[in-house]
């Protein structure tokens, strides 16, 4: 394979009117190296993922053989003493805490993005956007400690109110009953919501800002309100990017470890109430990995990790399908 081959493949046409000199061949060999480096980088990422999945599957083999796939997924027993393990409470905990984070985080992110892109006067745009992005720079253990030491005591004072008002509603009231401890599934969901805000809101803001001014100005000229412009002009125009941003946030919420471990209460018993303690897959891993002394115990923990990868992949797949579908409906390529 020679240099000009590569140049053609990369879509670069050799420029004919350029004077033939050493410079040109130097540029071509540099381009050849760049091409190789880019291919290498891409393969490195794919290989790392592939190798990780293989290593995890290999290490969880003992547990897969012992409990099977369906048996492990549906069992609520997690008992290191009798060495019986099941993932059900943790899968539910992971999905529920992330759902709470999305229910709370998505509308707020949308609000922030609309504020920055549409409403805010220029002098306030920068500080607000900067503050939101700084949230992403805070290490998750700090969120965990803040949640445990600062947020949970305050929230414990709000919980009796939640208990009395939301808990009294028939049906969904079941979700809001329990002792006011300040920690539990709901607290974990709220902390997660704060943690994923910067990711979702900055993506939404960026795409809102690229909506052509002609579109939004025409809408305003026809008498549309800010809400109507945001909801009927900007959002449809940027829909697939917004959904991409939401799923990026969701992916982060699903895998968050330390912050959740501190505030979720770490109970392996499933509870109907969001005010009660629970556990997620990452929190169990963080808690029990260091002292898992038997092979089956360790293998079961790694098996949980494998399931988390499967859950995350499923979520990504759903995102891709959803975007394709929306794209087709709008007649535009996704």
């Amino acid at each position: 394979m020679n240099g000009s081959d590569v140049a053609v493949q990369s879509g670069i046409q050799p420029v004919s009117d350029e004077p033939k000199s050493v410079g040109r061949s130097w540029r071509l060999s540099a381009d050849f190296l760049f091409h190789k480096a880019a291919v290498f980088a891409a393969f490195l990422a794919a290989a790392a993922l592939f190798a990780t999945v293989i290593a995890i599957a290999y290490d969880s083999w003992t547990a897969i053989q012992t409990f099977g796939i369906w048996g492990f997924l549906k069992s609520s027993q997690w008992n290191p003493v009798t060495q019986t393990f099941g993932a059900f409470p943790f899968i539910v905990g992971t999905l529920v805490s992330s759902t709470i984070a999305m229910v709370l985080g998505v509308p707020v992110s949308f609000g922030i993005a609309v504020f920055i892109a549409e409403i805010a006067p220029p002098w306030i745009k920068r500080p607000v956007a900067g503050a939101i992005e700084l949230l992403a720079a805070i290490p998750s253990i700090v969120y965990g400690l803040w949640g445990l030491l600062v947020f949970a005591p305050v929230f414990a004072n709000i919980e009796p109110w939640i208990n009395d008002h939301l808990g009294a509603i028939p049906g969904i009231g079941l979700l809001f009953q329990g002792p006011p401890m300040g920690i539990g599934m709901l607290t974990a969901g709220i902390i997660l919501a704060i943690m994923v805000l910067p990711y979702m809101s900055s993506i939404m803001r960026d795409v809102f800002l690229v909506v052509p001014s002609s579109l939004r100005e025409s809408a305003y000229a026809m008498g549309a309100t800010t809400w109507e412009v945001a909801w009927q002009i900007i959002l449809p125009y940027t829909r697939s990017a917004v959904i991409g941003g939401i799923f990026l946030g969701l992916g982060r919420a699903l895998g968050e470890t330390m912050a959740v471990t501190f505030v979720i209460g770490n109970s392996n018993v499933l509870s109907s109430s969001l005010l009660m303690p629970g556990a997620t897959i990452p929190s169990v891993l963080a808690n029990e990995f260091t002292e898992a002394t038997t092979k089956l115990y360790l293998s079961s923990l790694i098996y949980l990790g494998l399931i988390l990868i499967a859950v995350t992949l499923t979520v990504r797949l759903l995102a891709v399908l959803l975007m394709r579908r929306l794209g087709r409906r709008e007649g535009a390529p996704a």
Binding site: M1, V39, F40, F43, L44, A46, A47, A48, F50, A51, T52, I54, A55, Q77, W78, N79, P80, V81, T82, L148, L149, A152, P153, A156, P179, M181, G182, I183, T261, F262, G265, N266, S267, N268, V269, P277, A279, S283, A286, N287, E288, F289, T290, E291, A292, T293, Y297, L298
Partner: protein, 343 residues
């Protein structure tokens, strides 16, 4: 041809990635790994030991499970575990173990109107609280132990460690000894399937829940309670005496063990007799490989022997009880017997 090359490259990369397994590598001096609970003691001893002898002890507190795995793999000179290995497991893996120091756990609580040290609890009552059979502080079983103390009609919130921990092993082992129902339904381990309650990560997690949740009760390492001035309950020990947690109480627990006859020091210090004995006392074990180079094992033995003899005040200063001389003698003859050499 090209795609084949690419595949080959990808495969090579995959293999390379799979081979890079993080391992604790031995550096100059001695390397140990394991229990987080014994870490402060080993760290304190090794700092002074290095100044005196120049031998560097690099101890990594990766947890008992990791410590056992590393010593089995032979990547470290010694492993440390909060839960002793059974003699048959030691034999199968070609390992030996010996105790390091004694300590204990105490019950912290947060009951409005009840001051530190006022509450008295017994093993069976704690087991019933942790089994969710006793749900309120005004329960007659608690009142019976505390005549004259006014206990509120408040729900009990049970707090336990969420992370695997030697403290949990010591605590659940004690409950298994005093409550047949606990032994049958829950059992003892560094992590168990808790019937009720909330889990705090680490001692600081449990302590912060205790501080905040009115009506809470939870077990915490004594050293940590001392440091944070948390309130702890007195307990009724095996002899029926009411005792406060103390170093002497932990040492008395080990004093009532005939270490010389216990095979591989497989003895757990909970619920031991003696008038001053603290019931929830525990221990940490060091694990060595029989077939490790003699020089390495000698270095490890020298270090711990130095600690047993000269590190007693250092141990006491961080709430670890030094082993009595008779136990140290028993350890030395155990080394001689198992390894064929001793210091």
């Amino acid at each position: 041809m090209k795609s084949l090359k690419k595949m080959g490259a990808a495969l090579a990369l995959t293999v390379a990635c799979a081979l890079v397994i993080p391992a604790v590598r031995a550096q100059s001096g001695l390397t140990g790994a394991g229990s987080t609970w014994v870490y402060p003691l080993v760290a304190k001893w090794s700092a002074t030991y290095q100044k005196l002898t120049g031998t560097e002890i690099n101890y990594q507190s990766i947890g008992s499970g990791g410590g056992i795995a590393q010593i089995k793999a032979g990547t470290v000179a010694f492993g440390a575990s909060d839960m002793p290995l059974k003699p048959e497991d030691l034999k199968a893996a070609g390992l030996i173990q010996f105790p390091t120091a004694v300590a204990g756990a105490a019950m912290g609580y947060n009951i409005p109107g009840v001051k530190a040290g006022q509450l008295v609890l017994s093993g069976p009552v704690i087991a019933d609280i942790y089994l969710a059979k006793i749900k309120k502080w005004s329960d007659p079983a608690i009142a019976k132990l505390n005549p004259g103390l006014k206990l509120p009609d408040l729900d009990i919130t049970v707090v336990h460690r969420s992370d695997g921990s030697g403290t949990t092993f010591t605590f659940t082992d004690y409950l298994s000894k005093v409550s047949p129902e606990w032994k049958e339904k829950v059992g003892e381990n560094t992590a168990v399937s808790w019937p009720t309650g909330v889990g705090g990560k680490g001692s600081e997690g449990v302590a912060s829940y205790l501080q905040r949740i009115p009506g809470s009760v939870g077990y915490v390492e004594y050293a940590y309670l001392l440091e944070t001035h948390g309130s702890y309950a007195r307990m009724i020990n095996r002899d029926g005496k009411v005792v406060s947690p103390s170093l002497k109480g932990f040492q008395d627990a080990s004093g009532h063990v005939d270490w010389a006859t216990a095979q591989d020091f497989y003895v757990i210090l909970t619920d031991k007799p003696g008038p001053d004995t603290w019931p929830i006392s525990g221990c940490t074990w060091q694990i060595l490989r029989k077939n490790a180079p003699k020089a390495t094992n000698m270095e490890v033995m020298k270090f711990f022997d130095w600690g047993f003899e000269h590190g007693q005040d250092m141990a006491k200063s961080i709430a670890f009880g030094p082993l009595p001389p008779s136990t140290v003698e028993a350890i030395k003859s155990y080394w001689k017997k198992e390894l064929g050499y001793s210091i």
